[in-house]
């Protein structure tokens, strides 16, 4: 038995450490640890709720824009604001394109190198690579000359003995099973995907000013003024044409490169439909409203819960059932660390009790992560593209069922194969395909509104804080690329007094709870084969299949705070203690439980 540690887990966002026990060539136990803490929710207290999204967005730059959206939704919910249809459409376009963009970048730039041996591309026959490419796709960049060019580029890199980003790869690892031609094909598409993501995300630049960290949200709508007759309006007919062009190019890439590559690579690694199964409980808040955000029945992505891999019953989501443990997290609860707390009643007292750095190994019997352990009805849940796809499938979504069935048929795999490492990868591609088909519809609706003279982009009725109640609270739910995201806010005297985010990667990457129930990563790693404990590449495959985002995952709940900003900065008074009072917020509890 050996303790195998991966730290840093690379090709993710943030700082993640995985420790595993390896016994007889298999992972027999696993522990997931987030090793960085910032405390952004703490920093949010005392700020203007209208700008909370600007701050909250900085929770993550990979999942950029998603925290901004959850934040404005939370504040709008608290203040009872309905946004104009154009703002809804712009938000759907931004979130939908973020999702597609994120999935493409994840597959090629964060995940592919777990399956693709770059150096084996040197042994490929460019003519055979061309044949392979043409056999799986219509994508025009498929000639022998083209692949020869890519191969020469790799050759030069290797010959220079300065392999740059590829210098530390696990090349030659026995777990790499692709034929040389598939490796060359994937390397070519790794490079092409860099171009694709750069091009496609210009849709965010127009609608957000820049990517990452878009800057056009407003509580009540968006700042992207729309007017069919104004050349300087952010949205006008010329921009609609650009959106359509960008979406069309991305659609071609997704359907002719990304999806075929996933299917082709999966075809060489079918045993990975049998690894990485994990918890079997799935949750999605649902997203992409067709009308009001307050009508989840009308979302393009449905809301629901699946328990124990049972696709016959989609359970409703009750936000009141969410709670968090800190039994194995570097925090303390005043009621003791064996009890879970509803986030609205939560408290956070960070207290590091891990080994003094530098250290070799964590004490995983004790506390071992900056992540808490969220639970739904006291059970761990997996969130993300696989959860969403399964819930849509089980909810009877015809398009999802058709796409999933087509993918399974192509891979000659049964539906149960989806509960796996490869299942997560396939679900992500399926979702990108479905969203890139949907994007032009939202663009067309925006165009249609504009053509009919609907140029409302912001509901300013509650912009002036003088129009707000003395205190109020709200929440915003969302499906981010990595899964279900919720922000909760409490406002008093025009300032934020409580802010809380429960984030996809906390659900997935969190540590054990008081009952010893593993988090999703920990459960999925059990039984993973390890060819060489010195090079645990296989562990990365399953961890990466979740698309970890650790900056997102570490969060704290906030106590009552004082105001920050221009008026206090001249004489900053950093608080000496990080011990926070328990949140006295019956109202917050009510909000968490779905009321107002």
């Amino acid at each position: 038995m050996a303790r195998v540690v991966i730290d840093p887990v690379t090709r993710i966002e943030g700082h993640l450490r995985i420790e595993t026990e390896v016994n007889g060539g298999r992972v027999t136990d696993a522990w997931s640890s987030g090793t960085m803490f910032r405390g952004i929710e703490l920093i949010l207290r005392g700020r203007d709720p209208r700008e909370a999204w600007i701050w909250a967005q900085r929770i993550c730059g990979v999942c950029t824009t998603v925290h901004a959206l959850a934040s404005v939704r939370a504040v709008e919910n608290a203040l009872g604001i309905e946004i104009p249809d154009n703002a809804r459409l712009v938000r759907n376009i931004i979130a939908g394109s973020q999702n597609v963009h994120d999935h493409v970048v994840h597959f090629y730039h964060l995940h592919a190198l777990d399956w693709v041996d770059v150096t084996l591309a040197l042994k490929a026959d460019p003519a055979k690579t061309s044949q392979l490419a043409m056999s799986i796709s219509e994508w025009p960049k498929s000639s022998t000359t083209y692949f020869k060019g890519v191969q020469d580029r790799v050759k030069a890199l290797v010959a220079s003995r300065q392999l740059s980003l590829f210098s530390s790869g696990d090349w030659g690892h026995p777990a790499y099973q692709l034929p040389p031609e598939a490796n060359l094909l994937a390397v070519a598409h790794y490079i092409e995907a860099l171009d694709m993501q750069r091009d496609f995300i210009r849709i965010h630049a127009v609608l957000g000013g820049k990517n990452p960290h878009l800057q056009t949200y407003l509580v009540g709508g968006m700042s992207t003024a729309i007017d069919g007759n104004e050349p300087e309006a952010v949205i006008n007919p010329e921009r609609i044409t650009l959106f359509n062009e960008l979406a069309a190019r991305a659609k071609t890439f997704v359907q002719q490169v990304y999806v075929p590559d996933v299917l082709a690579i999966a075809g060489f690694y079918k045993e990975w439909f049998g690894y990485g199964e994990g918890l079997g409980n799935f949750m999605a808040y649902g997203d992409f409203p067709s009308g009001s955000i307050n009508d989840p029945s009308d979302y393009f992505f449905p809301r629901g819960i699946l328990m124990g891999r049972d696709l016959s019953k989609v359970h409703p989501v009750d936000p009141g059932q969410v709670s968090e443990y800190v039994t194995h997290s570097w925090y303390e609860y005043s009621v003791g660390d064996q009890t879970s707390r509803h986030p609205a009643e939560g408290e956070t007292k960070p207290k590091y009790s891990g080994p003094k750095p530098p250290f070799q190994q964590l004490d995983t019997d004790a506390k071992y992560s900056w992540l808490k352990s969220p639970r739904y009805d006291d059970k761990p849940m997996e969130v993300g593209p696989l959860a969403r796809t399964l819930i849509a499938y089980a909810s009877g979504d015809a398009q999802v069922q058709k796409t999933v069935n087509a993918v399974l048929a192509k891979l000659n795999a049964p539906p149960a194969a989806l509960y796996s490492t490869l299942g997560r990868i396939a679900a992500r591609a399926i979702e990108a395909d479905i969203l890139i088909e949907k994007l032009p519809e939202w663009i067309a609706q925006l165009d249609d509104n504009m053509a009919h003279g609907d140029i409302r982009i912001h509901n300013g009725e509650k912009w002036d804080p003088e129009s707000w109640p003395k205190s109020c609270a709200g929440f915003g739910l969302e499906e981010a690329p990595r899964g279900s995201l919720g922000h909760w806010v409490e406002i008093e005297n025009k300032k934020i007094v409580n802010y809380q985010a429960i984030v996809p990667s906390t659900w997935n990457a969190g540590p054990r709870d008081a009952h010893g129930q593993r988090g999703a990563y920990e459960a999925a790693l059990i039984n993973t084969p390890i060819a060489d404990p010195e090079r645990p590449l296989e562990v990365l495959r399953t961890v990466h299949s979740f698309d970890p985002c650790l900056a997102c995952a570490v969060h704290v709940i906030d106590g009552k705070g004082r105001s920050y900003g221009r008026d206090v900065v001249a004489a900053p008074e950093p608080e000496g203690s990080m011990s926070l009072p328990q949140v006295p917020a019956a109202q917050f509890v009510a909000v968490m439980q779905g009321g107002k």
Binding site: V5, I43, D48, R58, G61, S167, K210, S223, P357, G565
Partner: protein
């Protein structure tokens, strides 16, 4: 074996003509505000054989600066510039992981001492012995001290690495610091912004590789070519400001016509950065073009000093908002109440430039290339 090749060789092999390559060098010279003759100097430097080694460290970060780098434009040619360097450690995108990743970093520190370049993203927590960020069991502070002190130059990208950014905003729960505060005495160039603009970062790298020194820096060690002017003075909406045409409400006629966002809280009059000219994502846009005010994300401690972001900048009471940005900046830096701005003489003051409030004098050090500006 293929012989080691220069960037120009690589360009040729990849079908980029010498003319295109020279155009790129020209564009870089323009970004750096270098005279035309420097195009050839840049081209010559990029023709060198050996690739300098670069490592990219991430501490209390959101990877937004990494993502921005991935969006770096002029794709084919800028990509080659990155290939000019051997980019051997960067957690978010490197092939290696765990021990292999750490070994790659150690190799650079041990074998390339004094020669390698470091990019730092994210702040460095110093409270409680630095336990708020560990990588491979070591604290961020420990890693930064070791790696950055052996570097030829350190490039702090984004506002967090510069002055602590959002983790350092009140109440700074983790004792977060910017790189130059956490590891004093090292050679640092700061490229703040949330995120940095990768075009500027590429330009700094090119400048350094070309001339062997950093471009001229201001008192915050920010390159003047990118941070030497107020956003307000470069803004495409400036004419509306001067003419008194303001957005009064989101979505109103002025908003749809692209008028000035000053009354909506825009901090452009207090912010030094080149967003309006360089823009983001293949020069597609920047926040003001997208209808939202600037938040001054490249200004010192901007999270605390420039918020509330929707609050109109202070201006002399009784004189309307139609005064110059420079005056407003001057007012704030002087730390006096807006109403006491003595030189507000009761009429519209224009064309009277003062530096922004975040503008200390140009440092004497690192001024080697100032003459080319």
């Amino acid at each position: 074996m293929v012989a080691e090749e220069s960037v120009l060789d690589t360009c040729r092999r990849r079908g980029v003509s010498r003319r295109q390559f020279m155009e790129f060098c020209g564009a870089m010279a323009a970004t750096l505000a270098l005279p035309k003759g420097y195009t050839q100097t840049i081209a010559n430097a990029l023709g060198q054989k050996r690739k300098p080694v670069l490592v990219w460290l991430e501490f209390q970060d959101c990877a937004g600066n990494t993502e921005a780098m991935l969006r770096s434009t002029h794709p084919t040619v800028e990509e080659i510039v990155l290939e000019t360097l051997s980019w051997e450690y960067h957690e978010t995108i490197m092939a290696g992981y765990g021990k292999h990743a750490e070994a790659a970093l150690k190799r650079v520190v041990d074998e390339e001492k004094g020669k390698y370049l470091v990019v730092v993203e994210g702040s460095i927590p110093t409270a409680d012995d630095g336990v708020y960020c560990t990588i491979g069991g070591r604290t961020a502070l420990d890693i930064a001290r070791e790696v950055c002190s052996g570097a030829a130059v350190n490039i702090a990208v984004g506002s967090c690495a510069w002055d602590g950014g959002i983790p350092k905003a009140g109440p700074n729960p983790t004792g977060a610091l910017g790189l130059h505060e956490a590891v004093p005495g090292i050679k640092v160039v700061n490229l703040p912004g949330c995120p940095h603009n990768p075009t500027n970062t590429a330009a700094v790298l090119v400048h350094y590789l070309t001339f062997g020194v950093l471009p001229a820096l201001d008192g915050y060690d920010r390159p003047l070519f990118a941070y030497g002017q107020l956003i307000h003075d470069q803004c495409e909406r400036r004419a509306h400001y001067d003419a008194g045409r303001y957005v009064q409400a989101w979505g109103d006629e002025g908003h749809r016509k692209g008028w000035c966002l000053f009354k909506m809280g825009c901090k452009g009059p207090e912010a030094n950065y080149n967003c309006p000219t360089v823009r983001f994502n293949d020069s597609t846009s920047w926040p003001v073009k997208a209808g939202h005010g600037c938040i001054a994300c490249a200004s010192p401690r901007f999270w605390d000093t420039k918020s509330p972001f929707y609050e109109r900048l202070p201006h002399p009471a009784g004189f309307g908002v139609d005064v110059t940005a420079g005056e407003i900046g001057w007012t704030v830096v002087a730390g006096v109440a807006a109403a006491t701005a003595a030189h507000a003489v009761g009429h519209v003051v224009r064309d009277h430039f003062h530096p922004g409030d975040d503008e200390p004098p140009v440092k004497e050090a690192e001024k080697t290339t100032t003459e080319v500006h």
